[in-house]
């Protein structure tokens, strides 16, 4: 069998391939040759073959058949073999393959090899891909090498120890004694890796951190090393662009940051050196700036004195004016981190930041946008909003969604006047309407309803916008809703804020019908416009036209439209006496914004079309990530990530079971009674901002009651009143179990009469431990607008001693205070 070709030959051959297919052919041929060579157990050429295999692996071809060969190479005595073997192991193997464990013995032997380079190879491989078993077995060897005087091995051992600690955190203590002497090394490589090791230990274990602070008193040691670096003058060995070992300086600064965080003594000890570094470092090259950047971050993070903080922010301000894009980017990032704590200082640089919005660089623009939103406050809202809206007009599509949400949030918090607010929203809808998130439509509708005096103005502007452009769905949806509600104001020309326009009823109906037939309208939009047309039947006089439209859509292919049209038709025919009451003006909707996580509402009977509401639950997961970024900016340190609490069962099926439960407490979805205040989905973005507890008012006045007690399961109700709305009673159930066996898969369901509305939040767990060792809690919120006596039917299902148990019960003994 001819000797396998050399790596160089292979590469040359592959490079001559002109097409992907040709390349694949060559590689397959070579793979076959390599495979047969492996089968022959040829020791001399094995390393050559594995090298070729690694090259082909880099190009993307499968190379797993070489894994065992790598192991054979590692076991060989030759350095060449070991070198390629270990490289192959690192590239081809990982802890998911069982084969990797075979390496352990080889590595163990090589860690004790006489040649330092072989030891180095073994350390490197262990440090890159060692699994937890391997690390556990070999930690002792690594620790031994950590104490050697050979600096080449010592630095590798330090990084290997970091990997071991990451894989097996319990072994951290083992490395502690060896780490003690590491900082007294002269060799910079060892110093560098030791600082990395110490950093890793501090970040993993708060106990270790305390130990380093108090017992070892690391900070003065590090300060001394840093001082030597700065003062030592020119040392050709470690010099990078005129600064002595900037990498080590940066590492030490980072470790100082961790040590000084929230600790006064340590912070004080480093104040001087930080000031020294900040003022003495040369900033003409990137290395100097890297050190300054790290210094600034450290100053901001520890408990530094105010003079130092001002110095830091000024450095950042200087960075912002630097020509180098990287520096500007880095400055914006750090300002973003410090804007909550040192808000005023950052405000001073606001104009520079706003200028960065116009930068060509995408990364800088994004940072500047986030920072601008963080800097918006009551004083600068008008100016900032102008800039931000201009940015919204001209920015890339990837920014538009975030920018739009940011604008809405800022406008909501700081709007100087209602008219300004509505104008801003309209501007956003017209410029970036298609990028606006879907949950903003209900928010806007709520906002518009609440600004009573602006109704006429709003509907007029929206109508004009609709005439111009019907492609942006959120705008169209809001507009058609408003026209439906306030169409009478539009036609009568009552606007005070601006020149009223002359519109006839027919023109309005033309526009709305246009939406229904247009290809640009989504089904949701069509639903909105059909409902709007229906509402106008009580506000306009030309009812016949409306009747005609509604009856046409009674045979629409779209099921949703068809259902609506049929129901509205029924309104005209059989329930005409109820029509005015049903379609009258919507009352002011309450914002239930101050409660934490969003809940899924289980309502019994609704008036508003359910389509926009049910779109909420699936949508909230996607905006969560983007919303959280903004929330981090605006909400400060106490932001609670918005948690999705969903019922374990899907709402639809649970609803079905409840219907069974209720029986005589009938749940009909026919013509609903007079529109009650719908509990609207709390504006999603605002939820996380106020991390208030869920229950604002724990009134001890309402006594708890036992709702159910049977077969060892006891359920107790405790009451609170939710502050903003006195009609809502919040009940917490506590389920306890006095039997000796646990109750698993515990599900609590409840149903209430038609005039109430019920929300069930998710339970704390679904297992009630035996012998009262713990309890399951779940929160129920009941809306009782008519102040009727609260009655509830509960259904319990659980598994007890292996057999499923199900029970129904009625709860009638609610204390009067809970529903009055």
């Amino acid at each position: 069998m001819p000797a396998p070709i050399r790596l160089r030959e292979l590469i040359r051959t592959i490079r001559t391939a002109r097409t992907q297919a040709e390349e694949r052919e060559m590689i397959q041929k070579e793979c076959a040759a390599i495979r047969s060579s492996f089968r022959e157990e040829d020791n001399t050429y094995r390393c050559r073959n594995v090298a070729k295999l690694l090259y082909m692996h880099m190009l993307g071809y499968p190379a797993h058949f070489g894994q065992l060969e790598c192991l054979k190479l590692i076991a060989s005595q030759k350095f060449t073999d070991k070198r390629i073997g270990y490289l192959g192991a690192m590239l081809l193997l990982d802890e998911r393959q069982d084969v990797h464990l075979l390496m352990t013995n080889c590595i163990k032997n090589d860690l004790n090899h006489s040649t330092q380079y072989v030891q180095g190879l073994a350390l490197c491989t262990l440090g890159c891909m060692g699994s937890s078993e391997m690390c556990r077995d070999l930690a002792g060897e690594v620790e031994k090498l950590l104490k050697t005087s050979n600096s080449y091995l010592r630095k590798k051992a330090a990084l290997c120890a970091v990997h071991v600690i990451r894989k097996v955190p319990e072994l951290m203590e083992m490395f502690l004694p060896a780490t003690k002497n590491l900082l007294s090394e002269k060799n910079h490589g060892v110093l560098h890796t030791s600082v990395v090791l110490l950093t890793e230990m501090c970040e993993r274990s708060p106990d270790m951190l305390l130990h380093f602070r108090k017992v070892w008193i690391l900070v003065p040691q590090l300060v001394r090393i840093l001082k030597n670096l700065i003062m030592s003058g020119y040392s050709p060995e470690h010099d990078v662009s005129g600064i002595s070992d900037p990498f080590l300086q940066v590492r030490i600064l980072r470790l100082l940051r961790i040590l000084g965080r929230s600790d006064d003594d340590s912070s004080e000890a480093m104040n001087d050196i930080l000031a020294q570094v900040a003022t003495n470092t040369e900033t003409s090259k990137n290395v100097g700036n890297a050190i300054l950047y790290e210094t600034v971050l450290t100053i901001m993070d520890i408990k530094s004195e105010s003079g130092l903080r001002v110095l830091a922010i000024n450095i950042l301000g200087r960075f912002l004016l630097n020509n180098d894009k990287n520096i500007r980017y880095v400055a914006l990032t750090s300002l973003l981190k410090t804007v909550q704590t040192d808000h005023n200082a950052v405000q001073r640089h606001r104009s520079t930041i706003v200028d960065c919005l116009k930068d060509l660089d995408v990364s800088i623009k994004r940072r500047a946008m986030e920072l601008s939103f963080a800097l918006v406050n009551g004083n600068n809202i008008r100016g900032m909003m102008k800039e931000l809206l201009y940015f919204l007009d001209s920015c890339d599509p990837e920014f538009k969604a975030d920018c739009a949400s940011g604008v809405f949030l800022a406008a909501e918090k700081y709007a100087p006047s209602k008219r300004w607010h509505i104008d801003t929203i309209m501007r956003v809808l017209t410029t970036a309407g298609s990028y606006v998130r879907d949950d903003s439509v209900p928010n806007l509708i709520q906002l518009i309803t609440n600004s009573v005096e602006m109704h006429a103005y709003t509907v007029q502007r929206l109508y004009k916008a609709l005439l111009d452009d019907i492609s942006q769905q959120p705008l169209v949806q809001v507009s058609s809703w408003c026209i439906g509600e306030y169409g009478d104001l539009l036609v009568s020309g009552q606007c005070e804020e601006e020149e009223p326009i002359q519109v006839t009823e027919d023109e309005v109906l033309d526009v709305l019908e246009g939406l229904l037939v247009s290809n640009l309208s989504t089904p949701v939009t069509r639903g909105y416009s059909l409902t709007a047309i229906m509402k106008l039947s009580t506000r306009f006089s030309s009812v016949n036209r409306i009747k005609k439209v509604v009856s046409i859509y009674g045979s629409s292919i779209d099921v949703e439209l068809q259902q609506r049209a049929v129901e509205y038709n029924a309104l005209f025919k059989k329930y005409d006496h109820m029509r005015p009451a049903l379609l009258e003006r919507m009352p002011i909707m309450e914002k239930t914004a101050s409660n934490g996580p969003t809940e899924i509402v289980q309502t019994n009977g609704e008036t508003e079309p359910s389509v926009p509401d049910t779109k909420h639950p699936p949508l909230v997961t996607q905006p969560a990530n983007q919303a959280n970024d903004l929330l981090d900016l605006l909400g400060g340190n106490d932001v609670v990530p918005v948690i999705q609490t969903t019922l374990p069962t899907k709402p639809a099926s649970a609803g079905g079971e409840l219907l069974d439960l209720l029986g005589d407490l009938s749940l009909s979805s026919g013509p609903a009674p007079a529109p009650s205040v719908p509990i609207s989905q709390p504006p999603f973005l605002l939820d996380g901002l106020s991390s208030q507890p869920l229950f604002n008012d724990i009134s001890a006045a309402i006594p708890p009651m036992t709702a159910y007690s049977k077969n060892g399961l006891k359920i107790e109700f405790t009451f609170e009143r939710a502050n903003p709305n006195p009609n809502i009673a919040v009940i917490t159930i506590h389920a306890t179990n006095t039997t000796e066996a646990d109750m698993t898969e515990f599900v609590f369901q409840a149903a209430v009469p038609k005039t109430f509305q019920l929300q069930l939040l998710s339970p704390s767990s679904n297992m009630v431990p035996a012998l009262n060792q713990g309890s399951v809690t779940q929160v129920i919120r009941v809306l009782n607008p008519q102040k009727q006596q609260l009655r509830m039917r509960v259904k319990l299902t659980y598994t007890h001693k292996g057999s499923p148990v199900q029970d129904l019960a009625e709860v009638n003994n609610f204390p009067p205070q809970s529903w009055q």
Partner: protein, 192 residues
């Protein structure tokens, strides 16, 4: 921690790939393609930092890259690394390559992929920076290469024989002594 180091040329062909976290093979190739796509769109006068693509990790990861002639050097790092520091590290790495290969160019990286890996191993280990002193790195690599040479390197043909033949003062020295044709079965060399 450095998650990955990628070197590819202006057309996206990989010249060196090193991942410090496990990714399946096809995911690795996807990451290379995605990174190339992101990085090649960038103008030369914008900043060298990019938010990472969706494949290589979430919001914590950044791509820090430098463009030298026909090659892109991309380091994918998480927030524990200083961005400006990594830029300097890339510079140190490239200068080291320059010292080891004498005026390094893309061809050197193509034909000596394994050597580049070995050099990288002295700079970054397990995703963490090991050594930043250029002379130190070059020195270590030299010593190891010398060890390899003394064993005969990859060719596995007796190097001494080759050098002996090369030193014979023949009137006409063939340009390339192509040992590949000769079928020599060489017993494995005894360990030192």
């Amino acid at each position: 921690m450095i998650k990955a180091i990628l070197i590819f040329n202006n057309h996206g062909k990989p010249r060196l790939i090193r991942f410090y976290e496990y990714f399946a093979e096809d995911v690795q190739q996807q990451i290379i393609r995605e990174t190339f796509h992101l990085v090649s769109k960038r103008d030369d006068n914008v900043c060298n930092f990019l938010e990472g693509g969706s494949l290589i990790g979430g919001s914590d990861y950044k791509l820090i890259y430098r463009h030298y002639a026909t090659l892109y050097f991309v380091f994918c790092v998480d927030s524990s690394e200083s961005e400006l520091g990594i830029l300097d590290l890339i510079q140190v790495f490239v200068e080291t390559l320059d010292k080891c290969f004498e005026n390094v160019c893309e061809l050197d990286l193509i034909f000596h992929m394994d050597k580049v890996h070995f050099i990288l191993q002295e700079v970054v280990m397990g995703g963490m920076v090991l050594e930043t002193n250029m002379n130190e790195i070059v020195g270590q690599v030299e010593l190891q290469n010398r060890m390899e040479k003394s064993e005969g390197g990859f060719s596995a043909a007796p190097a001494r024989a080759v050098s002996a033949v090369k030193n014979i003062n023949l009137p006409e020295m063939p340009r390339n002594i192509n040992i590949g044709d000769i079928n020599i079965k060489v017993p494995s060399l005894s360990p030192f």
